[in-house]
């Protein structure tokens, strides 16, 4: 399932982290206890932030040969 291309593979990892973060965020929406706020911020927020950073890193790290 994972791509052989390093850029695409990083995008896939980034996407997986983001989906996990969004899942945590969705679960916390239905949980009306103060711990939901902490989980949303610490787990969901961390996963989303890591996913976004990995996406940005994949953009910076991808090497595109200059057009001749």
């Amino acid at each position: 399932m994972l791509s052989a291309n390093p850029f695409e593979r990083r995008l896939q990892f980034s996407g997986i982290l983001l989906i996990l973060g969004l899942f945590v965020e969705a679960v916390c929406l239905f949980w009306t206890r103060p711990i939901a706020f902490v989980l949303f911020l610490c787990v969901g927020g961390l996963l989303l932030a890591l996913g976004i950073l990995l996406f940005l890193f994949s953009l910076v790290g991808s090497h595109t040969p200059p057009a001749s």
Partner: protein, 210 residues
């Protein structure tokens, strides 16, 4: 809140579906359109979801039922229903002098710069104590700082009943001292019955509006 949560859930679901498309078909990003799509789906949409989610949770944490969801706070919720106008918190709650759905937050936030953030940091500490330490008995819970008159004056300042009340104007030095926070509204013998959770077992309770 229900509409906001539905919209947020819709946005989260749509974002997750679009992200899943890119996870299963990363080759889509080879084209320029695919790269733009990736930027929206892997950067902008999650950021929007995170910002909206944070705002939603912060707004929800202002609700009375949120504060009372911890069992340590149950007696404080009960004290809002005491059938006695001398009970300050109960009189405010029952007469809607504070919004009934944000009663705790209205009085216990700090009406100053970063007051909301300070209240949230205190809330995080409460969660920590609740789960990882031994929470104090409800009657032993104390405020971090003495209650500042600023929180009362946020609503009462300029109100006729406050400015021209017979007791308030009997001594000309009283109101300036209250406004300067030199004389506490609560602990100077005037409005000192607030929650008094230690004496609730003898109290009579209002059943609520029919």
């Amino acid at each position: 809140m229900a509409l906001t949560s539905s919209l947020l859930l819709l946005l989260i679901t749509a974002s997750a579906v679009l992200i899943a498309v890119l996870v299963f078909r990363p080759d889509l990003t080879a084209s320029q359109g695919g790269k733009i799509l990736a930027f929206f789906v892997l950067f902008l949409l999650p950021l929007i979801c995170l910002a909206m989610g944070t705002n939603y949770h912060i707004e929800r944490s202002k609700q009375t039922q949120f504060c009372l969801s911890c069992h340590e706070m149950e007696p404080y919720g009960k004290s809002l229903m005491v059938d006695d106008p001398a009970h300050l918190a109960a009189a405010h709650f029952q007469n809607h002098r504070v919004p009934a759905d944000a009663a705790c937050f209205t009085c216990h936030t700090t009406y100053a710069m970063f007051g909301d953030i300070r209240a949230k940091m205190h809330g995080l500490r409460h969660v920590y104590v609740h789960y990882l330490r031994t929470p104090p008995a409800p009657e032993d819970i104390r405020l971090y700082d003495p209650f500042n008159n600023r929180e009362c004056l946020h609503c009462h300042l300029g109100a006729r009943s406050f400015e021209e009340g017979a007791v308030h104007t009997a001594d000309p030095a009283l109101l300036p001292a209250v406004k300067a926070n030199k004389l506490s509204c609560l602990s100077s013998g005037c409005h000192e019955v607030v929650h008094n959770v230690g004496t609730l077992k003898d109290a009579k309770f209002w059943k609520g509006a029919p």
